[in-house]
């Protein structure tokens, strides 16, 4: 089947300066109930891979370095 690749903005922004995924942190990935965060091993930071967020905030609250900011997903902002 032919497919199109559509872009979405995602609600989670990770501050790559503050993120310590390169030191082995995976807290946000561990706690997210929707399992939408991942670690980019090349860049050593967490990022949001899937636009499937409940804007519930465990990722932001539990991040040890306050690297995560969750905003309200665009469609309901």
């Amino acid at each position: 089947m032919p497919k199109a690749n559509q872009m979405n903005t995602v609600p989670v922004v990770v501050n790559s300066e503050a993120c310590i995924a390169d030191k082995g942190c995976t807290v946000c990935v561990d706690v997210c109930p929707l399992d939408v965060l991942l670690i980019d091993t090349a860049l050593g930071t967490a990022y949001m891979k899937y636009d499937e967020c409940w804007y519930c905030l465990p990722c932001e609250k539990d991040c040890p370095t306050n690297a995560i900011t969750v905003s309200i997903p665009y469609l309901l902002r």
Binding site: M1, P33, W54, C56, I72, L75, R77
Partner: protein, 581 residues
């Protein structure tokens, strides 16, 4: 994709709890307390540290039965009336009788409830008749406290595995579950003497009006998994036509939250700022009045706080912006909504199944037993109406204790290897299919159809057309393709959602009357017909794989209703704002 799945890992436990949100951890802890020698595991699709409805905490107990404020009998009455009489009172009573002990247990574990100067629980009136709401202004630590108990009682925790199907032994008894790892695509099998389903509501049935698949009222991890698994395991479900529909902040789709603001002077109002319902407690009748006002000339509907004193507003902000759905402050900020100046626009949620708020669930008795031996259900997926968080805890405890008992006298039932192979193939198929429709596209269409055809007001012909569209979606599932294990999880959830949609349509069509206000408002059968329909409507999987429905008598009441109270919930509208309906 390397296929590691031919050699399924095979685990064995006595009690398998599926879902580690609210009811689940309690069930596991209580099973262990009942018999520390049992092997008890909690299986969780996410991570028990932050999973389920209470992932960030909770604003309060919505149904606390506390001596001095309410008796179990009063509570049973209130819920019977709020649910238009269709209740198995024994199940509500079993909750009510343990409600206070559970609050004390949670208090002892470190959950912080609001107390007055003398140290008594500070209960508030929100319901139409009695007083049952106990605030938890510092309710953010629920999950931490439960996790500590899981550790202390040595419960085995299995995170990031979702259950996809249950297995039955040759005699029909429950024998285990199939699991899928949503990160690796690995499958596994757990053999168990008992299974306790605590998988929460069917939160992804309808599509929220924002159109965002995951902007649901319920935690969207709860796609209806447990409803579908129980159905395929041959269990009876009940009240699926009694949808969950809630009044929420428009677009944000979280509670507005009259339970918190009501006792502090806030209320639900129309565009003129007038109160139009006597009571903000969520019920089908309340939702009916809400719906009328929303669609009427004085609509839409708002949460009104702009008349409150500065300290009160600050206190409300402190609770609502830090606890249960803490992102709501950001939502209001984006739209320049300040409670002091503007009323907050409200709307109604998508439809779902949930006994926590409404009454739709897997049929259980007062011991949390389903109709399949060895299978239990507790929390939102169970069938004790308006059970909320404390009900999830109490029924989790009841299920855990009864399951521990069941293990004493029952050994493992066999799992048929052929069934495992079939199930493995079924759940992995979308990953193996390289070219096909992505799960999110099918999900969007399916849930849009649910809105178009099943959402009340319900119309017979529309629901039938819905069934035709669902049959087409069922064929589309044969063509669904997942790009990675994460999408494979979503693909499997889509199949749960479709099962739920088919069950919702069948049960709604079966009950040819109107009941529960908006929840089951059938335009072509507008009257409540007690002669024919004062019964439970049950759903099971039929021979042809489609839902069948039948009636189940209501057990004789253990608490009689006074004639004068019977229709208290039919009189929710403020009389000066009477509309033509």
């Amino acid at each position: 994709m390397n296929d590691k799945t031919e050699t399924d890992e095979f685990l064995e436990v006595d009690v398998l709890v599926i879902g580690g949100g609210t009811a689940g951890p309690m069930a596991a802890v209580k099973a262990k307390e009942a018999n520390p020698k049992l092997r008890v595991a909690v299986l969780e699709k996410a991570n028990v540290k932050r999973s389920g409805c209470i992932s960030m905490g909770m604003d309060g107990l919505n149904n606390a039965v506390i001596p001095g404020h309410a008796t179990p009998e009063q509570y049973v009455k209130e819920i019977t009336i709020a649910n238009d009489g269709i209740v198995n009172q024994k199940t509500v009573m079993a909750y009510a009788e343990r409600s206070f002990d559970m609050i004390n247990q949670l208090d002892e574990w470190g959950v912080k409830f609001e107390k007055d100067e003398t140290g008594d629980y500070n209960v508030k009136k929100v319901h139409h008749m009695g007083t049952y709401v106990l605030p938890m202004p510092e309710g953010h630590n629920m999950k931490k406290i439960l996790y500590r108990q899981l550790r202390r009682k040595r419960v085995q925790v299995i995170n990031r595995f979702m259950a996809t199907r249950l297995f039955n032994g040759p005699d029909g008894r429950i024998s285990g579950a199939m699991l899928l790892n949503p990160r690796t695509g690995e499958t596994a099998v757990i053999r168990a003497k008992t299974v306790i389903l605590c998988t929460g509501a069917a939160g992804r049935l309808g599509l929220p009006s924002s159109g965002y698949l995951f902007g649901t009222y319920e935690n969207p991890t709860n796609a209806g998994d447990g409803y579908a698994m129980a159905y395929h395991a041959g269990a009876e479900l009940t009240g699926l036509e009694c949808y969950q529909i809630n009044p929420l902040i428009k677009d944000y789709n979280g509670p507005a939250c009259a339970y918190v603001t009501g006792p502090m002077g806030g209320y639900t109002a129309n565009a003129h700022g007038e109160r139009f319902i006597e009571c903000d407690y969520w019920s089908g009748q309340m939702m009916m009045e809400f719906h009328k006002e929303l669609e009427g000339g004085k609509g839409p509907v708002f949460l009104k706080l702009d008349h409150l004193a500065e300290e009160t507003v600050e206190e409300i902000e402190e609770i609502l912006h830090s606890n249960e759905r803490p992102s709501r402050g950001r939502f209001h900020e984006n739209r320049n909504t300040n409670y002091r100046e503007k009323m907050v626009e409200m709307h109604i949620s998508e439809i779902g199944f949930c006994s926590g708020h409404s009454a739709s669930g897997i049929w259980t008795d007062e011991n949390a037993r389903t109709t399949v031996p060895g299978l239990y259900a507790a929390g939102d997926v169970g069938s004790v109406p308006h059970n909320y968080m404390l009900g999830a805890f109490v029924y989790g405890a009841i299920a855990g204790e009864d399951a521990a008992d069941f293990c004493e006298s029952n050994d493992f039932a066999e799992i048929d290897p052929a069934e495992i192979a079939t199930e493995r193939e079924r759940i992995l198929a979308p990953l193996k299919r390289e070219d096909g429709i992505p799960p999110h596209q099918i999900e969007y269409k399916l849930r849009r159809l649910v809105n178009d055809y099943l959402q009340p007001p319900k119309v017979t012909r529309k629901m039938e057309i819905g069934q035709e569209r669902f049959a087409e979606i069922r064929r589309d599932l044969e063509n669904m393709s997942a790009a990675d294990p994460h999408e494979l999880m979503r693909a499997n959830e889509v199949s749960f959602i479709l099962d739920c949609a088919e069950m919702a349509a069948a049960a709604s069509l079966y009950r040819t009357e109107s009941r529960w206000g908006l929840y089951h408002h059938r335009v072509d059968f507008p009257e409540t017909d007690n002669a024919e329909w004062f019964v439970h409507v049950q759903t099971m999987k039929g021979e042809n794989g489609m839902p069948i429905n039948f009636k189940r008598d209501i057990d004789s009441y253990i608490v009689e209703l006074d004639e004068s109270e019977r229709d208290a919930y039919q009189k929710l509208r403020v009389s000066s704002t009477q509309t033509e309906s």
